[in-house]
Symmetry: C2
Subunit: 216 residues, 2 copies
DNA sequence: AGTGCTCCCGACCGATCGGTCGGTCGCGGA
DNA sequence: TCCGCGACCGACCGATCGGTCGGGAGCACT
């Protein structure tokens, strides 16, 4: 490796270029639909060079998803750890999650695809397991947060695990929904003002649901 | 066609058997990962026979998704049309949607995959367009319902289009989430008692959000 | 008996798949 | 100077891909 450039980024290792390109392609079209020839061409390498960095296609895929899952965990566990009452922490976690998904358009897709396709792929490479652990840990932490809020009387009595699924569905799904989401919305979901709106709606949903106060 | 069996079902045309098998396979592993040889074997036909019923693989896929989308629309537009105030109608729509997804485990996956993969496939077969129309119409109807409820002061002022995405995320995503959902939940999401719980949580979310009444 | 039609099949096509192999090139260390 | 080594490549492999083709079995109608 040449001395890490002081100019930062700009200079990427081939391995990282492969991971980045693969992330984009897998996100858009899925594991099975991407051929290694196509990927190699996007990266600007010969196809056989890919095998110098990753033993198999499945291995490469696992590396792509694990990298994302670990990054997500790394950033979001921090926002969970910061202070505040459970509602504050939960809302900060959701805000950060939405920001993360909005800033990295590939993440939501890769996340959902990794849920869909895990039945599929040849089992259990080490990075796959690491990725699962990262997400599992984070979900458990949010679950604890919900329980804490309920214990303090701050939250109503929710079914914690179902509520976790709800939270994921409310945040991850829209950013993975592609053309459908854009069509429903009439705008690009990744536009900063739409991201802001999305966060506001999620927060409002937590705080008061849909039904107007006056009507009950 | 031999006289339609009075014994009902049991006797299926080859075309329907192909559609059913393809639905299951596409739902589980996606378009690109399913080979026509495998599909033909599941159906119990020779591979070339598939081409007697569908001109191409893409055409077959479009037929599979369109059938589901139209079925969903057919059932859910009815539940929207039935009477009641906007909240009652919205909750009935959500209940029926959840029931539909729970009774047909392939639907949620096919739905989400059709959102993901539409960038992908060779453009615009007629059944594809018909499927899109069905879903688009339904989403528009629900949007109208939200607006009606807001106009009547029943609902708080939501951003209608964002809220539509929320509703889809809350209902469709969990049933598509496969092993992840089961792991978070600790149980099979398609189990009747979990389905009931899911509906209850969705309704509670609409009615009061997460935050306890007393705390504001 | 013959004709036409639906349904189905095995054999085959060119293309592409993931992966292997032998080898070239440039660079850092001895 | 030479060596070892990481990075890279083109050519090639068997397998599988979606799709075509010609034909056969069964049935209805004349």
């Amino acid at each position: 490796m040449p001395a890490p450039s002081s100019v930062a980024a700009a200079e990427q290792t081939s391995r990282d270029k492969i991971l980045d390109a693969a992330e984009g392609l897998f996100a858009k079209r899925g594991y099975a639909a991407i051929g290694l020839r196509e990927l190699a061409e996007v990266v600007g390498l010969g196809k056989s060079s890919l095998f110098h960095h990753f033993r198999t296609k499945a291995q490469l895929y696992a590396a792509v998803t694990a990298r994302i899952l670990v990054r997500i965990e790394a950033r979001l566990v921090r926002s969970l750890a910061a202070g505040g009452d459970p509602l504050v922490r939960l809302e900060r976690w959701l805000d950060d999650l939405v920001d993360l998904l909005a800033e990295n358009p590939t993440y939501a897709r890769v996340l959902l695809r990794s849920l869909f396709e895990d039945d599929d792929l040849p089992g259990d490479l080490p990075e796959e397991i690491e990725g699962r652990r990262a997400i599992g840990d984070m979900m458990a932490a949010v679950g604890g947060l919900l329980r804490e809020g309920m214990g303090a009387g701050l939250f109503r009595a929710v079914h914690v695990n179902h509520f976790l699924l709800t939270l994921v569905g409310v945040t991850v799904f829209p950013f993975a929904s592609g053309e459908f989401g854009a069509e429903v919305l009439g705008k690009d979901l990744f536009d900063p003002t739409e991201v802001r709106r999305r966060k506001r709606e999620v927060r409002a949903l937590l705080r008061s649901g849909l039904v107007a106060r006056a009507s009950r």
